[in-house]
């Protein structure tokens, strides 16, 4: 007699092999105690966290913490309701207004997570008569949103405007009903979309464009609005989605648009309607973080100084990296899954936590170690990360 669990046996076997080889389950790391925005206790020792998405280090900003504490005391621990029922507080609406103002847009919708924002928008905005054309390296939340919806979904080659153009041309009249989806900074390799060229292509075919600025909010642009701002193409981007769980240091998601008709979609989105709204403390800390992000270019500069230093240091050590300097630095290893996992463990034993990313989640199908920097990382910490990678370079050479 088969069991519902039989289909998970190969996955469990793979996971068990990974853990048996290393002793630590890389996908079940437990942060025993958070020490700061950049340090935590893991397996009883203090570790530098070089694999979070805490780009501006705002999780420990005193004003964000105060705002969250005040909100808990005044409004309670949770709304216990959906945005459509009892879960829309004045602060939720205020945050939507503040996001709209930040982006100079008439319309903004706040969701409970960034994943839900993409699930909601992509499953609803494009319907059975429409087409979604997404960059092949898009995040799982984008793929999942398209799967939940009813539009025809076509992939185009990563960062390839010529391939996008070829596919739009094949669509003929349907190009006008097509939503092109790209990201500002891609989460695995840290590379940016060629957004000017992509916007130009979509304009020529009359399509619409959505940019997920999850990793680029607070990171790119003079005011931190992301890649569209940095490349001065904000007027040509129809929808922006993003998250509160990276530069803003909390949890939640949003969509903004220069098209006021975005508001029509609010009550058609099941992932918006059928889930509890964000707690008052999250909304409060997010509002404060957005204010800080908007007005502090110093944090962005520090982040980029740190990223440049780590990227150049790792390159000088001889590692193959992602294609450009970015707060997300992918270290691509000519090693097997088992060897890369062992190297990840070695880094952890040296006091450095990075993300271990395995195929099929990785571009190109090879395992990688993903580092992610924060403005809160100190010079001493950057040096420690570089020293640890220098040690594993020697181990890597022994595998060859």
């Amino acid at each position: 007699m088969t069991s519902l669990f039989d289909k998970f046996l190969p996955l469990e076997k793979t996971r068990a092999e990974l853990v048996a080889g290393s002793g630590v389950d890389p996908f079940h790391v437990v942060v025993e105690r958070v020490v700061s925005a950049t340090e935590a206790m893991i397996n009883g020792r203090k570790v530098i966290m070089a694999g979070t998405n805490n780009y501006l280090g705002l999780t420990f900003d005193p004003e964000c913490i105060d705002a969250a504490c005040t909100a808990i005391r005044e409004e309670g621990t949770g709304t216990t309701g959906s945005r459509m029922a009892n879960g829309s507080y004045a602060a939720h609406v205020a945050l939507e207004n503040e996001l709209a103002a930040f982006y100079n847009c008439p319309a903004a919708i706040v969701f409970s997570t960034g994943y839900i924002a993409n699930l909601a928008i992509l499953s609803t905005l494009a319907g059975p008569e429409d087409v979604i054309l997404l960059d092949a390296d898009c995040h799982a939340s984008i793929y999942d949103g398209t799967r939940l919806g009813s539009a025809q979904v076509i992939r185009f080659q990563h960062n390839n405007p010529a391939d996008l153009e070829k596919r739009l041309k094949r669509l003929g009249d349907r190009a006008g009903n097509t939503l092109v989806v790209v990201e500002g900074i891609y989460s695995m390799l840290g590379d940016r979309a060629p957004l000017r060229e992509i916007a130009d292509v979509k304009n020529r075919f009359g399509a619409s464009l959505l940019v997920d600025e999850a990793h680029s909010l607070g990171v790119l642009g003079e005011h931190g609005r992301g890649l569209a701002e940095a490349l001065d193409v904000e007027d040509e981007v129809d929808f922006i989605t993003g998250t509160f769980s990276k530069s803003l240091g909390s949890i939640g998601g949003y969509c903004v648009s220069h098209l006021p008709e975005l508001e029509y979609v609010r009550y058609a989105m099941r992932p918006y309607i059928f889930t509890a709204s964000s707690s008052p403390s999250l909304i409060a800390s997010t509002r404060k973080a957005l204010e800080i992000l908007h007005h502090s270019s110093a944090l962005r500069k520090k982040l980029w100084d740190n990223a440049t230093q780590l990227y150049q240091g790792l390159a000088a050590t001889g590692f193959e990296l992602g294609p450009e300097i970015s707060p997300v630095i992918a270290v691509r290893l000519p090693a097997s899954v088992g060897e890369t996992t062992a190297l990840w463990n070695e880094l952890l034993s040296q006091g450095i936590y990075v993300n271990l990313v395995l195929p099929p989640a990785t571009p190109g199908g090879k395992p990688l170690l993903r580092c992610s920097l924060s403005a809160a990382h100190s010079q001493t910490q950057i040096n420690a990360i570089l020293d640890a990678f220098a040690l594993i370079r020697d181990k890597l050479q022994s595998y060859a």
Binding site: A136, R147, I154, R155, R170, L171, P359, G364
Partner: protein
Amino acid sequence: MQSKEDILDQLYELVRPFSKQPIELGAETGLINEMGLDSVKVMELMTQIEDHFDISIPLNILPRVETLGDFAEQLQQLLQDS
């Protein structure tokens, strides 16, 4: 309109270089089970097939494709609709 058999013959030529070991290709050949293609290889194969037939293959049809025969049927429909 191309017949399913014509499309299958073209598929065999496109798919053959992707197979891990030489196997006899037929309409019942499974892409994952028999040819041993992982998701990265499937993507590469799809790109080649798309360029060859000058069509875009929607991701929505992939759950319906297990064998080369299934693939040929879907391609035939896409070519008819394009």
